[in-house]
Amino acid sequence: MDPVKEPVISLRGATATLGSRPVLRGIDLTVRRGEVVALLGANGSGKSTAVRSAIGQVPLTGGGIELFGTELKRFRDWARVGYVPQRTTAASGVPATVREVVASGRLSRTKLGLLSKADRAAVARAIELVGLADRAKDSVNALSGGQHQRVLIARALASEPELLIMDEPMAGVDLASQEILAATLREQVAGGATVLLVLHELGPLEPLIDRAVVLRDGCVTHDGPPPKATGQHALPGHDHVHPHSAAEPIRTGLLT
């Protein structure tokens, strides 16, 4: 039996409220080094709040959080964490290039200092990993929705993190970009990265996922191997989109 790896994220009895509504009602969640854990659940189940509390963006009303074995309050080593927030766009009020946005992810290493040659190389590598090397000098305003998501992921990868935390990285992403994201993630996992990601459905990431944690109404209802199209996924109206196999002819509907 493998020795049990040390926990990278651990939430113990975490409770949190938004306004007066309890969103997390005592969650235990442990992610160990090298694991890929998916957090699943319906809208409003608390999965986004759970990951945002793990990085200190939502204050807990009870329980505790540790990152890399350090109490969150005392955790300062943010370069080890790559965070992909839930966004539909990487743009802001002023134009910015892909490289400029991705370079801001390197600030967890450079802090208030200047960008060194090694930093620039890391930024270029992160852009290449998500397949946007030829768009590095383009404005993010000129990108498609899936490409925006790839920019956000490259930004998280720029600090060469050990732990990736992603909040719905697949939301609104076309299939081509989903495949690229899955490949990027596979490479990170092969390199020893730990991943916690919020997903609405497993999709093309399914083969990568070691463990799924399902939340409902702020409580953990499942913690184990990814569920096989049961529960959440078997509900009517829960659309699965799968890529068409290459051999399948394109049906126009004109001949049948």
Partner: protein, 297 residues
């Protein structure tokens, strides 16, 4: 150049250049975080400072700096912590600041509404030597912050939540932007006036981003546009008897319109360039007709 020989014009030109540099340099971060009207709010609050300066017989510039820094920090705290209707709280601050200024100036012995209007609409020709010194010191601080911390301020203005997770001191940087904006307002107050300050923070940035694709180019271009219009406006007001503040702002809007008109042909040219380098579609779609199919039927 006779314009450079008079002392008051020398002072006016120095003040104009410094305003042309600093206002867009701060403004770009405000526009980036979609707070383009923040400068306007600070301008209103600074009125109370000017009034207080008159009432206490102290320098209106330094009093305005002090009060607008307090106002800007309050606005930032309301934005960061305010849970309910931040816009209403900000509106109170704007109008309270304006009303306070008018009231305090009228209460003072030395001030009058005529004095006040030189702060409202700017009065470059009455810039004194001590004004120039304060403007230089304040402008140096603004340039140091906006250029020296550009990567950090860019990240915080681009995506605040992400910036917090990189471990940057986001709260301190946000307050720094607010303080820097407040200082810029008082730097620009003498040149374009409190009511038009925000225009110089926003319009050059808006003009620059019509034709730029990157943040760095937008920054440089906005400062170039800002400096050009403040200089041109000051020189124009010397030869033609027109108010410099209003002239500067109208020139900036002119630059915006000109660059917007230029943007469409520029985008077309870029698209053409991209087309020549990119390959044409080569994917065969099964079932689609080609000219050869037609010929065999």
């Amino acid at each position: 150049m006779e314009i450079l020989q008079t002392a008051f014009m020398q002072r006016a030109l120095i003040a104009a250049v410094l305003v042309g540099i600093t206002a867009p340099a701060v403004g770009i971060y405000l526009v980036q975080r979609r707070q383009a009207l923040m400068g306007d709010g600070i301008g209103h609050v600074a009125m109370t400072g000017v009034g207080l300066g008159f009432l206490l017989n102290s320098s209106p510039v330094w009093m305005a700096t002090l009060v607008s820094v307090v106002g800007a920090v309050t606005m930032e705290l309301i934005r960061a912590y305010g849970k309910t209707r931040g816009d209403i709280a900000l509106a109170m601050l704007f109008y309270g600041g304006m009303a306070g200024g008018v009231l305090l100036v009228n209460l003072s012995d030395t001030g009058s509404n005529a004095n006040l209007s030189s702060y409202l609409f700017g009065s470059l020709s009455t810039v004194s030597d001590s004004d120039v010194t304060s403007i230089c010191v304040l402008a140096a601080f603004v340039v140091l912050v906006t250029v020296g911390l550009r990567r950090q301020l860019f990240a915080v203005s681009q995506d605040e939540e992400f910036a917090r997770v990189t471990g940057l001191p986001v709260r301190a940087l946000n307050l720094l932007v607010a303080v820097t904006a407040a200082i810029t307002v008082t730097v620009a107050m003498r040149a374009v006036g409190l009511l038009l300050v925000s225009a110089l923070m926003v319009v050059p940035v808006a003009a620059a981003q019509q034709i730029s694709r990157s943040f760095a180019v937008t920054f440089v271009l906005a400062v170039v546009i800002g400096t050009t219009v403040t200089l041109a406006g000051t020189v124009t007001s010397y030869y033609q008897d027109v108010p410099p503040g209003a002239t500067i702002v109208l020139l900036a809007i002119g630059a915006f319109i000109a660059l917007t008109a230029l943007a469409a042909p520029l985008a077309r040219r870029r698209a053409r360039l991209a087309e020549t380098t990119a390959e044409q579609c080569t994917l065969e779609v099964p079932g689609s007709r080609t000219a050869a199919d037609e010929a065999t039927v």
